[in-house]
């Protein structure tokens, strides 16, 4: 579904002139990046869609600042991360940078968890990570960006990103273990 950014270099120029179809094409080029990153950061599709909507509206308002299509991708990552942080703070969705949230106790089960359950567990575990660590893990480990790119998007240094990824991974393992024990009784 994603179109290579170089396929329609005139889409940016047309969108800047107010061409709605051209802007829709720009959205199609970047929608996977924006929606999936939002989903990874927020954990729920409804929230991810809200963040993606906000991100694309910002893109529409800022079309004039881009000299080429290639400049849009890193800018969109930065705006997506910020939109997710804003939304999460507004709705009290995630742990943020404050103290870790208490993991709720639910009815345990004795069945072994499958791949899908593992996914759900990890998605939930991500939401317990502090904001910056979560963003670093999503961008570095899931989006596959290099440390320098992640640092530029998050406004920090590569060393900080490496630390955040490493700490985040360790923390994530602990959270998954605790969630797993409480949910499934092992």
């Amino acid at each position: 579904m994603t179109v290579a950014a170089t396929d329609r270099p005139d889409a940016l120029a047309l969108a800047r002139k107010g061409d709605e179809a051209a802007f829709e094409e720009l959205m199609r080029m970047h929608e996977r990046q924006v929606l999936l990153t939002s989903l990874r950061l927020l954990g729920r599709m409804e929230d991810a869609q809200d963040a993606a909507q906000e991100t694309f509206l910002k893109l529409y308002r800022n079309l004039r600042i881009f000299g080429s299509l290639a400049e849009i991708r890193p800018w969109l990552y930065r705006v997506t991360v910020n939109a997710c942080h804003d939304l999460a703070r507004k709705r009290g969705l995630l742990a943020g940078d404050g103290p870790e949230r208490e993991i709720p106790v639910e009815d345990g089960g004795d069945e072994r968890i499958g791949l899908e359950q593992q996914r759900v567990l990890l998605a939930e575990a991500l939401t317990y990570l502090p904001e910056k660590e979560r963003a670093a893990i999503v961008l570095r480990e899931m989006e596959g960006l290099d440390t320098g790119e992640v640092a530029a998007i998050l406004g920090s240094t590569p060393a900080t990103v490496r630390t955040q990824v490493s700490t985040g991974r360790a923390r994530l393992r602990g959270i998954v273990a605790r969630l797993s024990r409480r949910k499934h009784g092992f």
Binding site: E20, F23, M27, E31, R32, M45, Y60, Q118, I137
Partner: protein, 117 residues
């Protein structure tokens, strides 16, 4: 990391696009309405300014400037009523009568009338 979220469905992408384009259209309508109102207001202001400029009354003549030394106190100026001078139409003069000189002779039946132009 060997874990990821499932790929969002095409409907999820469609919904985002639909919402974004709808919001853009809504904002564009509002912006156009504001622009139209601003243009109408500007036109009305221009018309009113033009009318005021046409109807502005002629100010009364400025009082004569009097030379005075800086040590003197400023003269008291008494405001007088503005006297409106009505234009009186000039009376039309009657056409000039030729000058007639009457010369009488010895004969009472003969009178010479001399018309001087």
């Amino acid at each position: 990391m060997d874990f990821d979220f499932p790929e969002p469905s095409p409907a999820a992408y469609d919904e985002v696009r639909h919402r974004v384009l709808g919001e853009i259209r809504r904002r564009r309508k509002v912006r156009n309405a504001v622009r139209t109102m601003a243009a109408v207001a500007a036109c009305a202001a221009l018309v009113v300014t033009g009318l005021l400029a046409l109807w502005r009354p002629v100010p009364p003549p400025a009082p004569p400037m009097l030379a005075r030394s800086p040590s003197e106190p400023p003269p008291m100026v008494r405001l007088s009523k503005v006297v409106r001078h009505w234009r009186v139409p000039r009376r039309r003069e009657a056409p000039a009568q030729p000058l007639v000189v009457r010369l009488e002779t010895d004969d009472p039946n003969v009178v010479i009338l001399w018309m001087v132009n």
